[in-house]
Symmetry: none
């Protein structure tokens, strides 16, 4: 089994944010949380309250007094920061960072993502413990990314890198209709529109037919949908026949 | 100037989450926020408190009573949901969704991302107004993504797509119709089908309406096509009235 990236929060301030980090870790399949000197101590019930049931990263969280101890055992550590640094470390986007973490995991390396506290972020000395900087492409006019949002984007990218495929139950189930069924739908509609005098002037009929067919073709209907729309056409146009028959019957009576 | 995607929150519950959404919108360069029936009313000072200075999406937020009004003016609407739906809409990852939004923006289309409230998410009827579903690759064991986190991931992917935009080519020239025009088409069709007695038994009407809307939504009609199909509906159903009038006239003559 490949090791999952560890999430390390250095001096987080708000228990609510630690809980929000746990929740988004659970969303994207991460579980191992390490806290370095949380400002208000640990454990804190408000963290569990804001995790919305994602308790296991909090239950298993390890607390350290020093960052050096929290990162011990890791073989690849990436540090997130929104500010440029006076270091010669490589700078990665969250997507590039995810690729590096995945490559490390494939080698069996324990890996980690390091995040600073809400107010101060990471010091350059903290960043210097890492093998690379991760920075999200934030807008220059508002760079301050919430702690849990920063974790969310890194965890999301890690998960995308791990498995690009969408969950199987989201794949469309019904195949598109047979072209013959679509043509049957077109001809049914066009026949009723001919009867209704829709295509005028007559020389424009070919282009009008083509435009209707193109729009319906783009819908990529299933067989069931083709049947439904044929029912719609029948329901809309059959009324004429019913009214005719009813009036004819009345005339016959009268 | 290319339009930025609009963020639409349907029935958001917590002002803190609305503020967190505004903050992450600002992080990734989005600004246009629309609120549909926020549970606790609007404006709410706690939203500004949790936006950490990203006030402008909140200051400019527009409030609507109905989702239909909130999406009016948009030409591409994508709905985020973590649950599979009984619809035949295409399903996109956040990355694919960002590519579609970017392509739309290159054509000058107003686009939008729709998010449901914290507890209930979107109803299937809401999803049926969209042209596609966006779903993040969450872990099956903990699917519940915080509202602001969901916005964060979509907004992040949009920004990544923007900053790495290849030139557009071979894109269709006519923009998709305004959502208000699509809703007008649906209601026209459904009104005529009501008159024709199409929806039976009556308890199946909601799901039948939804299935019709989804199939037509997928066609991504242009404004011209919407007008054409409204003409089709009128031609098919108006016949009844014409036949009636003609027969009535004949009866008067006879």
């Amino acid at each position: 089994m490949r090791p999952l990236p560890v999430v390390i929060l250095k001096e987080p301030q708000l228990a609510e944010n630690i809980g929000a980090v746990a929740r988004v870790m659970a969303n994207f399949g991460l579980a191992d949380l390490r806290l370095v000197s949380p400002r208000d101590g640990w454990p804190q019930p408000r963290a569990w309250a804001s995790a919305s049931g994602a308790d296991w990263p909090l239950d298993g969280a390890k607390v350290f007094a020093r960052l050096e101890d929290a990162v011990a055992g890791l073989r690849l550590l990436l540090a997130t920061t929104a500010r440029p640094r006076e270091t010669e470390l490589p700078v990665f986007s969250p997507r590039e960072a995810a690729a590096h973490l995945r490559e490390g995991a494939e080698q069996g390396w324990p890996t980690g993502l390091l995040f600073g506290g809400e107010r101060a972020g990471l010091e350059t000395n903290d960043v210097a413990l890492s093998q690379g900087i991760v920075t999200a492409p934030v807008d220059e006019r508002f760079r301050s990314l919430n702690l849990a949002q920063a974790v969310a984007i890194c965890a999301y990218e890690w998960r995308v890198a791990e498995s690009a495929a969408p969950p199987a139950n989201f794949l469309p189930s019904a195949p598109p209709a047979d072209q013959a069924a679509m043509i049957g739908l077109y001809e049914h509609l066009e026949g009723e529109l001919d009867a209704a005098g829709f295509f005028h002037p007559p020389e424009k009929r070919p282009s009008m037919v083509r435009n209707l067919r193109v729009a319906l073709s783009r819908a990529r209907m299933t067989d069931q949908e083709v049947r439904t729309f044929r029912g719609v056409i029948t329901a809309l146009s059959k009324g004429r026949g019913r009214v005719l028959a009813k009036l004819a019957a009345k005339r016959g009576d009268g």
